[in-house]
Amino acid sequence: MNLGRDFVDRLFTWAGVQAAGGFWMPEQGSTGAAAVDHLFSFILWVSAFFFLLIVTLMIVFVVRYRRRPGRMEAERGPAHNTPLEITWTVIPIAIVIGIFIWGFKVYLDVNTPPANSYEVLVTGQKWKWLFTYPNGHVDENLHVPVDTPIRLVMTSEDVIHGFYVPAFRLKRDVVPGRYVKVWFRAVNPGEYQIYCTQYCGTGHSDMWAKVIVHEPGGFERWLDEAGNFMKTMPPAQAGELLYRTRGCAQCHSVNGSGGTGPTWKGLFASHVPIEGGRVMVADEDYLRTCILDPTKNVPVGFQPVMPTFKGRLKDDEITAIIEYIKTLK
């Protein structure tokens, strides 16, 4: 029994599939990964068998029956053999049905989240991921506790993105206008790569993030601290974080380049021409009005398309953002 187990384990190793990562597969970071890898190695062995069968027969035939003096004609033989042909139709059917059933079973397992999973909202946008936690904290990386079922509820703000964590064997397209749900349970603390796999334009290949799996107890500590950044960080630094995580960065640059909205570089205390002929000074009050009532004073050359952030940003958060804008000289 033990010998049999040992042999099966070796088959996986030879197939380049190991918990720590091998020739074929990356390391196994989730409970679902091992099940997927077992099926992968099984198909690999089936494929290797048939491939070697085809290539060996091909080579043997070429060597033995090569056209040469004394063998200019083929040997007479039957032009078909129905029992043989039915055999090599039925055997592959049986094998692929086996693979199909196995593949479907594992798929169901990894798609059915356990009850009382911890839920994180995932938003895909050009070209970053945002993760929203139950306490309202928004982060650019996915922090999770180890050995806890995590349920992700994902949607996109613009085009289709693909949420992919290779180490978890987890992938799902993130479609605008829909909520898609996946789950996983990480088995080891550490950092794991997140990619976007559905092509989404210029920054598609930069849409990277990390899953950070915390030790037991570490996640709660992190979340408390991260959720409290308004109290622990200097206002300008907190403002920068809000700039990146609350959607400002999609329209406003901080380096002077153009966008849907005015750049923030050099904005503070500058003279802004307003639609209708007025000119206003971009001081604290002006910026606060722009955030809470964006269509009131629209600068010349821009469309009144910014949504209001009334109720979406608290007073101290608005202050922090204004402090951040002040630093962008």
Binding site: G21, M72, A79, W88, Y107, D158, G162, P176, G203, S205
Partner: protein, 564 residues
């Protein structure tokens, strides 16, 4: 020896016709080509434009691979340029090269000859189809100048309806190309139904024609769906009608269903004619009757039917229901069976044959090796749980290149080398032919096998930047792409050289038993000087090498009907 001599009267007119009246010199002048209704000339014109498209698509591929030598930014191109390059590479290779490839060039040339007919059923429609191809290609390539598309060749919404590149022009081009494809398919279906000669029943038809026939059915039935989908896409972009964009109340996944309802069968539009070519070649170069004719023929039809029922396997991670995914996964596994059956039948044909390792046969061996890998890696992608991990990674890129390049392009090259003497009346250098086949084989595997490993480790496709851990794989893959490029340059050089200096080809240089080998090389304008006798298309053993002719001649005395 009592065979048919070159130029002799009888059912096997033949010999080399370069010095005599043939389809190439029957009429002269550019106008006689541009307005021709001769299927052979249309086939040659298709060959020229299709190979030019392949060249262009290949240039894009080499540029992409060169960028990917390093993981970061590249002086060669920016991310946006890279995105446009892989889109153009895909769109050109798929719509301008692989889909029309074998049917429109080799098929056009060979189909009526194999039937012993003078032409296809509708010669004018055939020429119209060619000009639709040209028009569609100009529109599609015109988009390069007016804002090269950056959507990927799949045009997924809502990205394709919101990007500011010239999607409408590209998509309109593909819409027109679709009609070219439909016209060709319609023409071939009618030709095979109505112009088969007396004695050629369905099951005495060359298997290449079964392949072309299955393809033509798919072309007629699936291409209109693509046309409608692309029109809807244009309507959404140009008029703001909400069909696919959720911002307008549409459903982006609906586009994927429509798109793959065509584009999955299109995979079989690409591979069925290739399988037909291999069936011809494996019999002729094993000097042996094809094994299991009816299983091969029926498997072509089974593939054509099943190909319509598996599109959903492109959407296992797109959010379709678990039930749909289950059904599509099951049907996907079923479509693997007819392909496996064909492979076993081809191997059985080689068994106890007299295997002649001429250049076309090297492509057959290459095909079995590469298509074997391409088909077997499909098992990974058909299995739902494993597909979730591999979807949209380089594993998929490698898989479909093994099928489309390792399958279709290799078979196309095999067929091109096989019918080249018939088309142009000249032999190419056998030595360089083998070198070319070897370079392509080595270059291809180096390029794409690496991508399987990279993909299973999680490298996402269509990526300008990549993680440093993948750099070694990318470098190896690029080296392979360069070897592949050298292989194609070698092939281009000796083929062009053969047109000018090649040894004049005999009527039947390979000993094929299908009817096209019973006319001169190149054939006369009307294909045959007198009606050829229909026999068993795989009775290759009835043909034997004759050193005096420099080609194969029939063993049976002249005038005696060919037996089966």
């Amino acid at each position: 020896m009592t065979g048919i001599e070159s130029g002799a009267a009888g059912f096997g007119q033949g010999g080399n016709a370069l010095g005599r009246d043939n389809y190439l010199n029957h009429e002269r002048g550019i106008k006689s080509w541009l307005l021709t209704r001769d299927h052979k000339r249309i086939g040659v014109m298709y060959l020229v434009v299709i190979l030019s498209s392949f060249f262009l698509g290949g240039i894009f591929a080499e540029l992409i691979r060169t960028k990917l030598l390093t993981p970061g930014n590249s002086a060669l191109m920016k991310a946006d340029t890279y995105n446009q390059m892989f889109t153009l590479h895909g769109a050109i290779m798929i719509f301008l090269f692989v889909i029309p490839g074998i049917p429109a060039s080799l098929g056009n040339f060979v189909l009526p000859l194999m039937l012993g007919a003078k032409d296809v059923a509708f010669p004018r429609l055939n020429l119209a189809s060619f000009y639709l191809w040209v028009g569609g290609a100009l529109l599609a390539l015109g988009s390069m100048v007016t804002g090269a598309v950056d959507t990927g060749w799949t045009f997924y919404t809502p990205y394709s309806t919101t990007t500011n590149t010239n999607v409408i022009m590209m998509v309109a081009g593909i819409f027109v190309l679709g009609f070219s494809s439909i016209f060709t398919g319609l023409n071939f279906v009618v030709t095979i139904h109505k112009l088969r000669p007396a004695g050629m029943t369905w099951f005495r038809m060359p298997l290449f024609l079964w392949g072309i026939y299955g393809t033509a059915i798919i072309q007629i039935m699936a291409t209109p769906v693509l046309g409608i989908t692309l029109l809807l896409l244009i309507a959404e972009r140009a008029l703001g009608i909400g069909i696919f964009d959720p911002a307008l109340g549409g459903d982006p996944v609906l586009f994927q269903h429509f798109f793959w309802f065509y584009s999955h069968p299109a995979v079989y539009i690409m591979i069925l004619p290739a399988m037909g070519v291999i069936s011809e070649l494996v019999s002729v170069f094993s000097r042996k009757h094809i094994f299991g004719y009816s299983f091969i023929a029926m498997s072509s039809i089974a593939i054509a039917v099943l190909s319509f029922l598996v599109w959903g396997h492109h959407m296992f991670v797109a959010g379709q229901s678990t039930l749909s995914s289950m059904i599509f996964s099951f049907l996907t596994f079923m479509v693997a069976i007819p392909s496996a059956v064909k492979v076993f039948n081809w191997l059985a044909t080689m068994y106890k044959g007299s295997i002649w390792l001429a250049t076309p046969m090297l492509y057959v061996l290459s095909f079995l090796f590469l298509f074997g890998i391409g088909g077997l890696t499909g098992l990974f992608l058909g299995a739902l749980a494993v597909d979730v991990h591999l979807h949209d990674t380089y594993f998929v890129v490698a898989h479909f290149h093994y099928v489309m390049f390792g399958g279709t392009v290799i078979a196309f090259l095999g067929g091109l080398h096989y019918w080249w003497p018939k088309m142009f009346g000249r032999m190419y250098s056998e030595f360089w032919g083998r070198i070319g086949a070897l370079l392509v084989f080595v270059g291809f595997n180096t390029t794409f096998f690496t991508q399987f490993v990279m993909g299973s480790h999680g490298a996402p496709r269509r990526s300008y930047h990549y993680q440093p851990q993948f750099e070694a794989y990318h470098r190896l893959s690029t080296i392979g792409a360069y070897i592949l490029g050298v292989g194609f340059v070698v092939i281009a050089v000796y083929l062009i050289h053969s047109l000018l200096r090649g040894r004049p080809a005999p009527a039947n240089p390979w000993g094929g038993a299908t009817l096209e080998w019973q006319t001169s090389s190149p054939p006369p304008h009307d294909n045959f000087e007198s009606t050829p006798a229909v026999g068993d298309p795989y009775d290759v053993e009835a043909w034997t090498w004759d050193g005096a002719v420099g080609g194969f001649v029939r063993r049976a005395p002249a005038g005696q009907p060919a037996g089966s």
